[in-house]
């Protein structure tokens, strides 16, 4: 330990590598190092300060292999989190498709689909508010979904909506919008998301595009279904 120089540091690095390979914990390594340092310092005529300095360098070198492993673990953890969020997204998309396919041609179905779109989009992306707007026979229909923090149980939802929109910052990174379009390119409406604590990410934007396509298809299919099965037909 006390023989200074790169040769001794290289030995420390090899020692750390072997310790990692044998599955020794960092605590084991620290304990062994401490014992070695204690016995060195007890020797007569030893320059304790020099020994402690050399021991510090030796220890730093021996734990560098653990740093490689720690960074590897962090990389794997991030990959696992990403995988989990993709799984969640797939599950929610699948729920959304299942829910919309169950909506029939009963009165209010379009509003129900819009509500489902708003809820799923907001939950999936983790936004504070989602607003779905649709143009229907010259009218604009709107459905919103709010995070639990924004909904007043006794309050008027329309007022809550207006107040939530007014209070939200509209900086580009704090709102996202995607158009809902039919297969032949006609504009059906829009899907807007507001307010995410840590800001919207590139993955959120990609998810919104995907959701808007699924939502457009659901709206178009429902309208087609309603046209096909109206009593006049």
């Amino acid at each position: 330990m006390v023989s200074a120089g790169e040769r001794s540091l290289r030995a420390a690095y090899e020692l750390g590598r072997v310790a990692v390979g044998r599955g020794l914990s960092l605590l084991d390594l620290a304990e062994v190092h401490h014992e070695a340092l204690r016995s060195e310092i007890r020797l007569e005529g030893v320059d304790a300060e020099a020994v402690v300095r050399a021991a510090g360098e030796f220890f730093l070198e021996s734990v560098s292999a653990y740093e490689m492993v720690r960074r590897g673990f962090e990389e794997v953890r991030q990959a696992a989190l990403l995988q989990q969020s993709r799984l969640d997204m797939l599950r929610q998309l699948s729920d959304f498709l299942a829910d919309t396919s169950l909506v029939s041609d009963a009165p209010g179905s379009l509003e129900e689909v819009m509500r489902l779109i708003a809820e799923h989009a907001r939950e999936l992306i983790g936004a504070r508010l989602c607003v779905v707007s649709l143009t229907d026979d010259g009218r604009t229909l709107r459905a919103s979904s709010y995070s639990a923090d924004d909904v007043d149980e006794t309050g008027d939802l329309e007022a809550a909506h207006l107040s939530a929109v007014a209070s939200l910052p509209h900086a580009p990174e704090e709102r996202m919008r995607a158009e809902l379009t039919s297969l032949d390119g006609k504009e059906l409406g829009s899907l807007e998301l507001f307010g995410k604590e840590e800001g919207f990410t590139a993955v959120d934007k990609a998810t919104l595009v995907h959701l808007s396509q699924v939502a457009s298809a659901a709206v178009e299919r429902l309208r087609l279904h309603m046209t096909e099965y109206t009593p006049e037909n």
Partner: protein, 153 residues
Amino acid sequence: MGDDIIVSIHSDQDMVVARAQSRSLADSLGFSRTEATLIATAVSEIARNILMHAGRGEISMRPLREDVRCGLIVVAQDSGPGIRDVSRAVESGFASTGGLGLGLPGARRLMDEFEIESEPSEGTTVTMTKWRMRDDLERIRERRVRRVVDSGP
């Protein structure tokens, strides 16, 4: 290219030389002791890779100086059998690293930039860089020194 430090890698002893040179260069560029240790570790891993797979090769290192940052670039070259699947070689779990994240994947994680070029039977080149951001005081000092040098005796 005058600043290049070149170390031939033929034996374990050369690994010690490469480590010492990288540490010394890192110190001269103002890297902390911890960062210098990580750089020396990354250099050890690529030197070990040369010895294990090619038997011999060369490691060169050079300082990089920019206005807001400075760094150290390390290039390791060998004429060994090459790596068939480069992307797999830098992932943990690759056979020769025993799946512990040491070796090339470990070196990649310790450095800021890491690139491998390899062709089967034609050898491998690993290029890796570590950066350090320079603070304002450091840059002001350097400008002052430059001004003094430019104004001459």
